[in-house]
Symmetry: C2
Subunit: 341 residues, 2 copies
């Protein structure tokens, strides 16, 4: 897992280079089709990448996005009206049967379908109109890392292709941002010792960083067996904050941008409750208000943050698992391809 985390800057650069031209053709084609809805279909880490895609696509393109409930299609057998929809399936292996079944049904119903996968030879490739590849090389760890950030990157490229105007980010800076994030490894190696006996926690992020909260929580569940909840800072205040007692661990993503004031106000509230807070941020005020902080480079801006900010989270989970004497590459009860319908 640590090795695959470290491969991310190179994998991201390969994906930009290999897929950009295809995406730009796809964008021109889709603009003529008058897409009025985007449906994203995925499970596990891929579903967290889709959650990021949801925010990015709605903010950038103005097209409403729905995160699909696969069982509506596969078990309740509903036929949704998707004639003007773009349906995007996301699966590392390309072998998620439920995801592929939703894609096949949507295509048969007139939707344009795209598959995002790391496996150019997979069942998904055969059921979609177009395939977008993460160029991560084989992912051996059960806990997805490089394919997760590769999927996020393809959502950036898709949003660029669908947006009418120049978007507020440049994908070309993201591999460098990811490389900068990897420099946190020695600091995180020290930090995790303090969390060796943590049994549960809450992870908070909002907006473009909301998916990071989901993904770090999933990594902590999968590799460290920590009962990790995930919330947006707004939803957290609608009930779950009642769980927080003195020293309750809360991990927060606080990248720069329009969400930062809200997250900082939650940090203030957590301080009053004497929670044990760990923040991933470049904001020194936010860092000073928390028990612990992972300080990110200042130059990573709002729209560039989602990929580099998950990297310290991946490192935290992998190193905490090792510190707990667990093997993050082979979590108990899991295999690389999960078959569900």
């Amino acid at each position: 897992m640590l090795q695959e985390i470290a491969e991310q800057p190179a994998a991201l650069a390969r994906t930009i280079q290999s897929e950009r031209a295809k995406l730009s053709r796809l964008g021109a084609f889709l603009k003529q089709r008058d897409i009025d809805l985007i449906v994203l279909v995925a499970r596990g880490s891929s579903d967290n990448a889709a959650l990021f895609g949801r925010y990015l696509l709605e903010i950038t393109t103005g097209i409403p996005v729905s995160l699909s409930a696969p069982s509506v299609h596969t078990i309740y057998r509903a036929k949704l009206r998707l004639q003007h929809a773009l349906v995007v399936g996301v699966s590392q292996s390309g072998e998620g049967e439920d995801i592929n079944q939703v894609l096949a049904n949507a295509r048969a119903g007139g939707a344009y379908t795209v598959g995002i996968t790391n496996e150019p030879v997979s069942a998904m490739v055969n059921v979609v109109d177009e395939t977008l590849l993460t160029h991560g090389g084989r992912e051996r760890s059960v806990a997805a890392t490089k394919t997760f950030t590769g999927q996020m990157l393809l959502f950036y490229l898709l949003a660029e292709a669908l947006a009418g105007t120049k978007p507020p980010w440049s994908c070309d800076t993201i591999p460098d941002f990811a490389a900068r994030a990897l420099e946190q490894q020695p600091a995180i190696l020290e930090l995790v010792q303090r969390y060796v006996f943590m049994e549960n926690c809450v992870v908070v992020g909002r907006g473009l960083a909301y998916a990071n909260a989901y993904e770090l929580a999933l990594k902590l569940m999968e590799t460290c067996y920590v009962v990790a909840e995930r919330f947006s800072s707004a939803d957290f205040l609608h009930g779950p904050v009642a769980m927080v007692e003195r020293h309750f661990p809360v991990i927060l993503f606080a990248p720069p941008g329009v969400m930062l004031p809200g997250v900082k106000s939650l940090i203030g509230r957590l301080r009053e409750l004497r929670a044990d807070s760990l923040v991933i941020t470049s904001d020194l005020d936010a860092a000073a208000s928390c028990a612990r902080a992972i300080i990110m480079p200042k130059e990573i801006d709002e729209f560039g943050a989602p990929i580099p900010y998950i990297i310290p989270g991946q490192l935290f989970a992998a190193l905490l698992a090792e510190a707990k004497g667990l093997d993050p590459d082979q979590p108990r009860s899991l295999s690389k391809v999960t078959r569900t319908l």
Copy 2:
């Protein structure tokens, strides 16, 4: 909270009687508007009711549903294309500022907007085209119960109004089903003693019962301060199942219907892992395979189950809070109206 839980059969009957005619007029009107997307906007328990509404509406009407990310509208200021959308806001108090702002923006952008609330005099009523009321009477407990099931009921009525054909349920049976569910109270009062020292757990449901898992988890977090995760049985197998060790508590909703085989196969897996499982079901096989069971009446069928099946969950949370020496009506750190943007 216990008193408000007990009021549900009467409140549900009042809501059917008071709102059905309005819904049927609304349905006729909306069929002429050619709605191609339904967007649901809510937070907290209301968002869990919306999650139920999502499954019911997609299965029944074939119209795609998107659960809104309010911050896309309120903080990122995106203008989504919602001209042919029905946008439904759900808020017990009708005072959720972010929900109301999304409704106002959507209406200004050409969407038809509906508000579901318990407060006929509230800010929400003034920003929407049509209001649907839960006739619960004032809800005093911070933990929502009767307004939650009232919101679910309005989604049944809305689905009936939008569907082309006769739906596979009859709302008129639901208040009776709810009354039958209340008969579980003495059994649950005994059961909760066993869970007094439970600190974390996972709640599982799928399809039409998925929202029940979210709602029971939220109730456990709010009133019992238990770190309660919530998953569909499919998502649970995509990673989080790694957390399950011997005696790890898992609560499952296993109502009759097409999802039951999948939930039973998860129960088998949990048994191998020696998890401590509690199932809410009318299936005696499922009950026999779990450590503990709450046995529901056989006559509660697949589409009638979602409301009566959450009631033992509400009772479990309220009675467990009391057994832990907590006040379920006044959870720490919470107030009845949460203000977030």
